[in-house]
Symmetry: C2
């Protein structure tokens, strides 16, 4: 028999966009890093496997963060009094400029990678900065953490301050090629490069064309920002007068999905036409509710994403958002959807616990392949939750316990974590 | 010299509704439970006092929770998929019914009091249930915790399920008198009774008249709910056709401030007329942003409360809200105010960090007397914050550290807490 183990606990995972599978005192089995299934009783054929006994503990799939900025972790929770474009100038660009200094990057990324490792997320799409050396350092640290990540060296050759802004499209592309090659050389197991133009206002047309060539050559997925803030959208309209929507601006360079894994953060201002294009092209939404509130962008129409069958997951968007845990993003998403329903559109009913949990597990997890559920053939990511910080005077059902883990994530610690079958915590 | 001590640390408190006083490496002095002042350097006259050295730690006044339900702590974070009136029937009333059992109340209130003691709040206005014996048990536990609280036995003689609903106005009043007498007998130091009609729909006119008499006889302050949810407001209009506003319904019984300390939770639907009446009568708003989101009530116009000079503080409203910490209520209040500005009224600019901190400290603290700031003559409530859970790669200013304590409260532990000069943690 191949390498494997069985794990016992109070198991809970999504078995559909709006439904939960719960197996109190149930079993999951890991064989060679993959999940063999989930059962009420351990099948006889696995009786010989070592058993990890987490009886009484909540066991869920690892959570997926579809959008976060590693260098911004350093100032999360501070400077939340501005809107997007002013905030970029006042806080983001000055902080990101520091990552030309590898000593600083080492200190800051050590803190970030450690926080990510200790929380309930097992997968993440991560923005670094324009600096290739610091990006490699971050990738080394994330590889060492055991997490599964896509990490992007950022591209930006216009509308940002020197020296953070890259000196030309050609230089930005050249650095990106060198970085992509270096990633190949390092033969990471869990860490993959992802093409990362910051957003349309930061990237010249020439750079976007060069990035398309690089994408084709190296087969890189892509992450960026889309329709976050109204002023940003107005700016994109000016910059790309030929594009009917912000999404069309990416699409005009062939950088908007359509066979290539692509994730766009925010989509707060996305209208029906943009949503339809995302659907057609298989573009993922990274829904980042807390960031959209903190930066006063508004509330993204999450119900419309689900209704239209978009591929969608949740993002922490550190440091537009303050919290890395995707549990927090789940409760933020539910809360934002309630206010959207109350204040914006009574045709969009609020998200349920089941839907938020789906988005934060298999919804976003699917960007990484088969991840985010305890289904046969899925990569085995599991998180064991300590509920001792949330004692209850009477026994609770599985859904109530899951809801508390989501709403009270700060009091629910992670005591063990498995990624692709390896115990990383 | 009387009993006292000096405390050194990175001190931060509100010295106005929109301003912060910060004294890194500063001193506060406690004499006989009162604050003697705050200084950059310790005045010579206090040089002989024992010094508690919290150098490098953030030191803030205790936070005040103007609205929480002790019995609902048991189910916080679960059952957040309903609006107010349905939620009361489905979750609140069944849970509160359990408190006729003193064994259950003992288990549940032990958990609640312990959680409150460990967090950053030092003062709270607390709803218990209709059950006087369980309410006394709660008061004993809160007194033992060292926290300063107003605690109310709830009154409700209509529109609730038996046996939770009291059998008559007379019986409800009789139990309330007995409870008030018992509170006097126990000679608590920090725990005081507060009159607590649940809300207009729960209390008959006869009961309200009897409560007014009890209030006059025992000099009791009052806490209740006001204009939380639209269906609730419609119901109050039906029940009290003679009252122009919900607030007028309380006022018609003489139970809406005007010389008697009175705090009303929510005020989400309050219009200009109700706000003017609150101002005139000195009624406090307990602004409970998370609860208003969770129960899909909407967003309270916090900016209007401030603009109109209402007395106002923050409430956790456990379990409409899930989190006891008023740090969380501060960040929720800022976030809600941003969405209010974006989606409802661009004339109401978002709350600042300074304003949210003011509301959560001296704003709400003033309901308890002189509390919530390190001013001379204020009661000495101080909280020492451990920031080791939020490491930073570069040094942070005092306002940034305060902002992080507010936004990242879950990662900022309380390592020591003083109430009225006594160290309770």
């Amino acid at each position: 028999m191949s390498y494997g183990f069985a794990l016992k606990g109070d198991i809970c995972f999504s078995d559909g966009p709006a439904s939960l599978k719960t197996l109190p005192g149930g079993y999951i089995v890991c064989l060679d890093g993959l999940c063999a299934g989930a059962w009420e009783r351990l099948p006889e054929r696995y009786a010989g496997l070592p058993l990890l006994d987490y009886s009484g503990k909540l066991v869920i799939p690892g959570l997926a963060d579809l959008h976060t900025h590693a260098p911004q972790y350093a100032f999360r929770g501070a400077g939340m009094d501005l809107e997007l474009l002013e905030w970029l100038d006042a806080h983001v660009f000055p902080e990101e400029s520091k990552y030309s200094d590898l000593g600083y990057a080492d200190r800051a990324y050590t803190i970030f990678a450690d926080a990510l490792r200790r929380g309930p997320n097992t997968r993440a799409c991560v923005f670094a900065t324009v600096h290739a050396p610091a990006t490699m350092l971050l990738m080394d640290k994330l590889e060492a953490s055991g997490l599964v990540t896509f990490v992007g060296k950022v591209n930006m050759d216009r509308n940002g301050p020197y020296p953070l802004r890259e000196e030309s499209a050609a230089k930005s592309a050249e650095d990106t090629v060198r970085w992509a090659e270096e990633c190949l050389n390092r033969r990471y197991r869990n860490t993959r490069p992802i093409l990362t133009p910051r957003f349309i206002p930061s990237c010249s047309d020439e750079l976007m064309r060069l990035l398309k060539e690089i994408q084709a050559r190296y087969g890189l997925p892509l992450q960026s920002h889309l329709s976050e803030n109204q002023s940003e959208c107005d700016w994109v309209s000016e910059l790309c007068p030929g594009s009917a929507t912000y999404g069309d601006a990416y699409a005009s360079f062939g950088l908007f999905g359509g066979g290539v894994p692509t994730v766009m953060a925010h989509c707060v201002q996305s209208g029906d036409r943009e949503i339809a294009l995302m659907k057609r092209n298989g573009v993922y939404v990274a829904h980042c509710p807390q960031s959209n509130t903190n930066l006063v962008s508004g509330i993204a129409p999450a119900r419309k994403f689900l209704k239209n069958g978009l591929k969608a997951g949740l993002g922490s968007d550190v440091a537009g958002g303050c919290h890395t845990s995707i549990f927090r993003a789940m409760s933020d998403a539910i809360q934002a959807s309630k206010l959207y329903w109350r204040l914006v559109d009574q045709g969009c009913r609020p998200l349920s616990i089941e839907e938020a949990f789906y988005l934060g597990t298999v919804g976003g997890g699917s960007f990484f392949g088969k991840a985010g559920a305890f289904e046969e053939g899925f990569e085995f990511d599991a998180v064991i939750i300590d509920e001792s910080g949330t004692p209850s005077p009477s026994p609770l059902g599985m859904k109530e316990r899951l809801a508390r883990a989501i709403y009270l994530s700060s009091d629910c610690g992670v005591i063990a974590k498995f990624v692709r079958g390896s115990k990383i915590l």
